[in-house]
């Protein structure tokens, strides 16, 4: 027989209360850890999309807007970058790749991104995760489109179907380019990025589409060909740039140098997507803090439930405490048992909460990926888990102070009388 055994028997004697109280701690810990886990995973998910891009060039108002538009398809970029500028930038440095993109059209509200074939062969939407097709193939000829997984799910389109794009981003009721039907040739696997909402096609098709409109305004009939395209038609809205790196490394000292060089050009805006996403993280950090505060509040409320459970049990345990004191256990030792009981409830709840958060995190990740295409990798940070575990036990110990004081002050002789 030892003190721990006494504590365990006491807990077992109030099994329902113990389980409920411990369960409330478990839920609180699971909630807090899941929030912490999904928070970091959520920001990692934000980092997806910019993928292997080091620098993003556009003519937007600011680098943050450039990233919001170019990576997250928030809006169609308002100002174009000329094809000449693209050529100038491309030849100014031995980039590993420089991929032009053009946004501005849409299909049933899903943004259209016209781009070069390298977008599918060289750019990766997430580091180490190249594009993968669910079916079909990437656009190879003019007027072929490939759908992101969400766009495919949202439109219900299948490979082989023909569609007409709409002028303007996000609008379902804009001017339709009825003259140029596109054929769906591929559907992409989910990437866990905003690209899943996009519809991809080639640049020339988009240029031809808008050249048709221009020529119509100029009174020229007939569909244009590539030969009819002018420099004004050949415009883009973004350039994804990647600099050469050493094998196994994603960074390079030249990135910052090239960033500084490009930003001197007043005609363009250059952004390092990773930095801008970190800025975005800083902006929404306060909201994030509110969720963490809510989690802590739930944890504190579970501490109160421990206090109530122990406090309520003290009335019926006065005689037990008196008997333990009568056989020679000191006040401090009995008080320690009450604290140990609370700590065990807290510890059991916290451990269960850790397991729940892992299971719940993976379940939530599966749902997020399935429902909204957001790829999160719930990862329990051991440091956070240890802090939350220690916090739960400390909170439980704190909650036991009042019941422990009651135990300490329990008058022995009075509680041993038959009528007590």
């Amino acid at each position: 027989m030892n003190d721990l055994r006494v504590v365990l028997v006491s807990l077992k004697a109030r099994l329902v209360s113990t389980l409920i109280t411990s369960g409330s701690v478990a839920v609180a810990v699971a909630l807090l850890l899941t929030m912490l886990s999904l928070r970091s995973a959520g920001f990692e998910a934000f980092q997806r999309g910019s993928g292997t891009t080091h620098l993003l060039v556009s003519a937007d108002a600011s680098p943050l807007v450039a990233v919001l538009n170019g990576v997250f398809y928030a809006n169609a970029p308002s100002n174009p970058v000329s094809w000449e500028k693209y050529g100038e930038i491309r030849s100014s440095f031995p980039y590993e790749w420089a991929i032009p993109t053009l946004q501005g059209d849409s299909f049933r509200g899903f943004p259209v991104c016209a781009t070069a074939p390298e977008f599918f062969t060289k750019f990766q939407p997430a580091k180490g995760e190249p594009w993968q097709l669910r079916e079909g193939h990437f656009p190879e000829k003019n007027f072929e489109i490939c759908l992101g997984s969400d766009a495919a799910a949202g439109t219900g389109l299948r490979v082989g179907q023909k569609v007409q794009l709409t002028h303007g981003a996000g609008s379902e009721h804009g001017h339709e380019h009825t003259e140029f039907p596109y054929t769906v040739v591929g559907i992409l696997q989910p990437t866990g990025s905003a690209h899943d909402r996009a519809v991809f096609t080639d640049l020339e098709s988009s240029w031809l589409l808008h050249a048709f409109d221009r020529r119509e305004r100029e009174g020229i009939d007939g569909k244009p060909t590539v030969a009819d395209l002018t420099d004004a038609d050949r415009k883009i809205t973004g350039i994804l740039l990647r600099l050469p790196t050493r094998p196994g490394s994603d960074g390079s000292a030249a990135i910052q140098q090239q960033f500084d060089t490009l930003r001197r050009d007043p005609a363009i805006v250059v952004a390092q997507p990773a930095q801008q996403i970190d800025r975005l993280r800083g902006i929404v950090g306060n909201v994030d803090g509110i969720f963490i505060a809510l989690g802590v509040a739930v944890l504190v409320s579970s501490g109160i439930s421990i206090l109530l459970a122990l406090y309520n049990s003290m009335a019926e345990r006065r005689r037990q405490i008196a008997v333990l004191r009568a056989i020679g256990l000191s006040r401090g030792r009995v008080q320690g048992m009450v604290v140990a009981e609370a700590c065990l409830i807290g510890l059991a709840g916290a451990i269960t909460g850790v397991v729940l958060s892992l299971v719940g995190g993976f379940a939530a990740a599966a749902v997020l990926k399935e429902r909204i295409g957001l790829v999160v990798h719930p990862d329990l940070d051991p440091r956070s888990a240890m802090i939350v575990l220690a916090g739960a036990v400390m909170l439980a110990a704190l909650a036991s102070v009042l019941p422990a004081i009651i135990a300490y002050r329990t008058p022995v002789a009075d509680n041993l009388r038959p009528s007590a």
Partner: protein, 222 residues
């Protein structure tokens, strides 16, 4: 003969005016004495004073050669754990613990090595006729519960056993049988027994009867 209990001019006063003064009371090793007196005469109070569960307002209380009245509470707890066994009217077993665990608790409190707890508890329970040492205390009959309570009281081979109305709720035959169990256990353990009982029928079982009514007073100074 060695004294296991020695009280000198012990004074105790409760807030509601009840007071107790014990000019002198001694108990030799192995001696058995009955504290007699009606309800409210101070029998239980005197036992709790001797056990160190109540603090006397004056005088000296010596148990097994140790002055309880001069000790701090923690030291009194240790003396109680090692030298005093307690038997209560309602047994006061912990209902969620098994019979052997109830006995082992006393050994734990006395600081006996943990490995000895269960063997000693089972041995004692067997000697008192308890054949289900692993049964929860609440599942035992009243008679069995009392035997377990006696086993707990003598588990640490105390010098003194204090019994507070151990037969109060029993009929005459059962009371004698129960008292026989307590007295035999104390004899076997070599412990002195000071038993409080208002039952006149119990007086014949004890070689010495101390009438507590002689100790009750209202003149103990504050």
């Amino acid at each position: 003969m060695t004294q296991v209990l020695s009280l000198r001019d012990v004074q105790f006063r409760r807030s509601h005016g009840f007071a107790l003064r014990v000019p002198s009371l001694d108990l030799a090793a192995g001696e058995m004495a009955l504290l007699s007196g009606g309800s409210g005469s101070g029998k239980s109070t005197l036992l709790w004073l001797i056990a160190g569960l109540l603090r006397a307002d004056g005088g000296s209380i010596e148990v097994a050669g140790q002055r309880l009245d001069a000790m701090r509470e923690g030291d009194r707890d240790r003396v109680r754990a090692r030298s005093i066994g307690l038997v209560f009217q309602t047994h006061h077993l912990l209902p969620d613990f098994t019979a052997e665990e109830n006995v082992a608790l006393a050994l734990m409190a006395a600081g006996e090595p943990e490995r000895t707890h269960m063997p000693r508890a089972r041995e004692l329970l067997a000697s008192l006729g308890i054949d289900r040492p692993g049964a929860r205390a609440s599942d035992l009959s009243v008679g069995q519960q009392q035997r377990v309570a006696v086993a707990r009281a003598i588990a640490c081979r105390p010098a003194l056993v204090l019994a507070d109305e151990p037969t109060a709720s029993l009929d005459t035959d059962s009371a004698h049988a129960a008292m026989e169990v307590i007295q035999k256990a104390c004899r076997d353990a070599g412990a002195a027994l000071l038993c409080a009982s208002h039952d006149p029928a119990m007086q014949a079982r004890f070689p010495r009867v101390i009438d507590v009514r002689g100790f009750a007073t209202s003149e103990v100074p504050a």
